[in-house]
């Protein structure tokens, strides 16, 4: 707790030393990093779960493996869209 408080105090001191433009750029950079990082976690979990279930389905019912694989591919792509949205937020905050 005391470490958090001292870090926060240091951040406030640092922010006071910066001019508003620098502070804004720093905030955008941290926000961009967090957006990208956090947005990648959910799809990672989702794809892991999805692929696990699909592999189980293919092993149990090999005759429907083609259909399962098609659905898995589309599911992965849909889940990946969430990460892409986070990535777009990142590039807009960081590079635009």
């Amino acid at each position: 707790m005391s470490i958090l408080a001292s870090t926060a105090a240091q951040a406030v001191e640092l922010a006071q030393e910066l001019n508003p433009e620098e502070a804004k750029a720093n905030a955008a950079a941290s926000g961009a990093g967090m957006a990208y990082g956090l947005a990648a976690i959910g799809p990672g979990i989702g794809i892991g779960y999805l692929v696990g279930q699909a592999v189980q389905a293919m092993a149990r019912q090999p005759e429907s493996a083609g259909q399962v694989q098609t659905t898995m591919f589309l599911g992965i792509a849909f889940t990946e869209a969430l990460a892409l949205i986070g990535f777009v937020v990142f590039i807009l905050l960081k590079f635009a």
């Binding site: 794809i47 692929v51 592999v55 090999p62 694989q69 589309l74 792509a77 869209a81 990535f87």
Partner: protein
């Protein structure tokens, strides 16, 4: 002893779906470039084209990796799907990072294109896949489910 399927043989259905989506993406490319040009001029058109190319390459890579892994083993599918996700995200990041300072890049059209193309192509494709699942007799003409399960120990 019951033999358990370990891997698939034959053409990958994921690759067929991806090629379908690439065809549709190429059809949508001129329209996307026109919309980009309308909102952000030449830079917008170029950024839209780059964004669509990125998405199509991403889809092809994903399908090829999954198809390749499914011919090895189901366990490889799981590893390749997760590893491929990380790798493709990194590739997209580097692809954007390389061009970020170039004069023809407009970030807003590029970002919007990435999301809209990805979701648009998926929804477009999903309509056809759903139709073929609901009415399996209508599709596929060429055997989409031609992947054959191969039991452990068989070559």
């Amino acid at each position: 002893m019951t033999s358990v399927a370990q891997r698939l043989e034959g053409p990958s259905p994921a690759a067929e779906v991806a090629m379908d989506m690439v065809k549709r993406g190429l059809v949508a490319l001129p329209l996307g470039m026109m919309i980009g040009a309308l909102f952000a001029g030449f830079n917008g058109a170029m950024s839209v084209a780059y964004g669509i190319a990125l998405i199509l390459i991403n889809l092809i890579l994903s399908a090829l990796l999954l198809g390749w892994a499914s011919r090895i083993s189901f366990a490889a599918v799981a590893s390749v799907a997760l590893g491929g996700y990380v790798m493709r995200l990194a590739l997209i990041f580097f692809a954007v990072w390389i061009v970020k300072d170039m004069s023809w890049v407009a970030m807003l059209p590029l970002g919007v294109t990435l999301i809209v193309t990805h979701l648009g192509l998926l929804v477009w494709e999903l309509r056809h896949v759903s139709a073929s699942m609901a009415h399996p007799g209508l599709k596929p003409k060429t055997p989409r489910t031609s992947s054959r399960p191969v039991a452990a120990g068989r070559r």
